[in-house]
Symmetry: C2
Subunit: 350 residues, 2 copies
C-alpha cells in the first residue's frame, strides 16, 4: 500500500518529519530521521538563499540517505502604514522592552519573492531529493524546473479543493494538514475556518478523488496515529510536534518543556498574533493579550517582522508567556527521546 510513495521518496518507513521553520529542524534532527529510515525535512521558510545552502550542505555531510526541504510560497502583500501603526500601538507594551529599528526591517513582496526564487535555484543546484511547499502553490515554472531536475515535489492542502488544485498543477504528492496540526495553517484557497477539517474526515474524502499519494499531518504522535492514517488511505504520516521535542531538535528548551509537561487538556489555540497568519500553539499571555485586536493585525509576513524583536527578547529572557509555542492537539504523547528512537517506536510491529 505504501510502496509507491516510499519508493519515490527512497525511504524505508512511512514517516516524514515535518519541516518546522525557525531553527527547529537542525541538520542533526533531519539527518537522524533520514538515517533511521524516515524522511528528514529542512524547514527553510524563514531562511535566505545562503543559509538554505548551508543547511542543505550540513545535512548532506551527515547522511547519504534521502531528505527534503520545505519552502513558504510567498503571497502578495503590501506595507500599509496605518495598519502597521495600529499594530505597533497594540504591541507597545512589548516593543518598549526591546531595542530595535523595526520599521526598516520590512521586506517587500518583491524582495521576498526574489529570496524564494534564489532558494529554489539552490535546491536545484544542491540536488535536494524532495521539495515540499506550504502557504500556497508554486508557479508552474517552479514546479517544472524542480521536476526537470528530478526533484520530488509535494504540496500542502487543508481541504479537498486545495488537494485537487495541487494535483492539477502537476505536483507529485500532497500533505493533508488536518485541523489537529500545530504551527501555521497551510490554507490557500479556503479561509482559515473552512480549513479546519479533522483528519478523520479529510483523508478519506480526499483519497477518493485525488490520485497522487496523500501524506497525513496533524495530531499524529505514535504508531496508533500512523496506522489510523493508513487505514483512512494516507500513504505516510508527517509529524511535527512529536519530532519537536526530540533531543536533536533545535526548538527552544522552554518550547519543548511547555509541550512535555503534564497536561490533562488541550491547551492549544489558533492565533495570528505572532505572524499575521493563523497558527496553532499553546495559549499564553501574548496570545490572550492580542486576542481582541487579532483580526486587525497586518498580514504575514509584516506582523511576523513586527513581533520578531519581541520573540527574540522573550527567548533571551526565558519568557514563555511571550514566545510562540507551536504545538498540535496531542502534546500529551510527546517524549524527550532521540529521533531514531521515535522513528522506531512509530513503525515497530508489537
Amino acid at each position: 500500500m505504501t510502496n509507491r510513495l516510499l519508493e519515490a521518496l527512497s525511504i524505508s518507513h512511512p514517516i516524514i518529519q515535518a519541516p518546522m521553520a525557525g531553527g527547529i529542524t537542525t541538520a542533526e534532527l533531519v539527518s537522524a530521521v533520514s538515517e533511521a529510515g524516515g524522511l528528514g525535512m529542512i524547514g527553510a521558510g524563514y531562511l535566505d538563499a545562503k543559509s538554505t545552502r548551508h543547511q542543505i550542505q550540513e545535512v548532506k555531510a551527515r547522511t547519504d540517505k534521502s531528505y527534503g526541504i520545505n519552502l513558504f510560497v510567498p503571497s502578495p502583500y503590501t506595507e500599509e502604514k496605518d495598519v502597521i501603526q495600529r499594530a505597533q500601538l497594540s504591541l507597545q507594551l512589548y516593543l518598549e522592552k526591546v531595542s530595535s529599528d523595526v520599521e526598516s526591517a520590512f521586506s517587500s513582496y518583491e524582495q521576498t519573492l526574489e529570496i524564494y526564487h534564489k532558494q529554489v535555484n539552490v535546491i536545484i543546484e544542491e540536488q535536494v531529493p524532495v521539495c515540499s511547499f506550504t502557504f500556497g502553490m508554486p508557479s508552474s515554472d517552479v514546479i517544472h524546473s524542480l521536476k526537470q531536475a528530478g526533484i520530488y515535489t509535494i504540496g500542502t492542502a487543508t481541504t479537498l479543493s486545495e488537494a485537487l488544485a495541487i494535483e492539477a498543477a502537476g505536483m507529485d504528492a500532497v500533505v493533508l494538514q488536518g485541523s489537529e496540526a500545530g504551527g501555521h495553517r497551510g490554507n490557500f484557497l479556503a479561509g482559515v475556518e473552512q480549513s479546519m477539517i479533522g483528519l478523520m474526515a479529510l483523508i478519506p474524502q480526499t483519497v477518493d478523488q485525488v490520485n497522487i499519494p496523500v501524506i497525513a499531518a496533524g495530531g499524529i504522535m505514535d504508531q496508533r496515529g500512523v496506522q489510523a492514517a493508513q487505514c483512512l488511505g494516507a500513504q505516510a504520516a508527517q509529524l511535527g510536534t512529536a519530532f519537536l521535542t526530540c533531543k536533536e531538535s533545535g526548538a527552544n528548551p522552554l518550547h519543548k518543556q511547555a509541550i512535555l509537561e503534564g497536561q490533562q487538556e488541550d491547551k492549544t489555540t489558533i492565533t495570528r498574533a505572532f505572524s499575521g497568519k493563523a497558527a496553532r500553539g499553546i495559549e499564553n499571555d501574548f496570545i490572550r493579550n492580542m486576542r481582541k485586536v487579532e483580526c486587525e493585525l497586518p498580514d504575514f509576513p509584516i506582523q511576523n517582522t513586527l513581533t520578531k524583536p519581541i520573540r527574540s527578547q522573550a527567548a533571551q529572557n526565558n519568557d514563555r508567556d511571550t514566545m510562540s509555542l507551536w504545538c498540535g492537539q496531542n502534546p500529551n504523547l510527546a517524549e524527550p527521546i532521540t529521533a531514531k528512537e521515535l522513528v522506531h517506536k512509530l513503525v515497530d510491529e508489537e
Copy 2:
C-alpha cells in the same frame, strides 16, 4: 479488542447509530440498525415523557435486539427579557413570516428538569438497555438509579478532562465527540473553542488515561473510519451523518439532499444561531445572516424555542436556507441506502 463493550451492549458489530434528536431517529431507523447487529439509538433530547415512552415502545415492537436512548442533560438557564427582545429583533425578518405566540412557549429550567427526570423514569420502567447523555453529566442519583436498573450508561465528552469526569462519575462508557462531528457540541467543562479537538488527537490521549470503553464520534462515514478509530484505541464508532441519509431516517428530505448532493468541499460551519448552543451544520443564509449577532443570542434552549416556528415554517416551505442542516465534516461519503446496507458496509471484511 472490542469484546468488552460489544458484550456489555449485547451487539455484534462496533457500530452505534448516533442518537440524533428532532425526529431523525425513527423507530424504523433504530430497529433496522439494531437488527443489523449495531446499536440503534433514540434521540429523545426534545421529547416529553409521553413521546419518549411511545418511541421506546415502537422500537420494542420492531426488534428484540439491544438498543439505546439519549437524553440532553439540562443546564441552568434564565429567561432574560432584554436578551430575548434583542434576539427577536435580529430574527424579525424571519418571525414576520410566521404566526406564533412565541413568548408563551418558553419552558423554565425547573420545567425542563422535571421533564428530564420523568424521561429517566420512563427509561427505567421500559427497561431500555442503554442510556447515553449529552450536554453535561447526569447527577449521581440519576446514574445510580439507571445502574440499579441494569441500564448501561454512556456519557459524551469532547476533551480528556470531560472523559475523566464521566469516568469518575461512575458511568460505564464514554462517547468522544471529535471536532469533525455534526450537530450540537457536547462540551460541558470546556468552552466551545477548546472542545474542537480532532479524533486523531483526542482518542489516543484519552484511552491512555481513561479505563472505561471509548466510542469515537465525528466524521466517520465508512469502514476506513471505523478501523482508524479502532487503531487509535476506540472500541466502537458512533455515526450520525452516515445514518441521517439512510432511507429509514426521519430527516427532512431537503436535509438529506443537502448532505447527499455532490460537494467538493466541506460546507459545514459551527453556529449557535438555531438553538443557542454551538452545533455543526451546512452553512446557509440563516447562519450567515445571524453571524454578526450570534454571540449575543440567548442560551439553549431559549434560542431554540425562539427559532422553532421559523424552522417549522421553513420545513413547510421547503426553504433550505432557513432550516438547520446538521452535518459532520465528511458529507462526501454519505449514501441514500438502507441502515442494514450501511451497517454491513461498515463492518464487512473486503
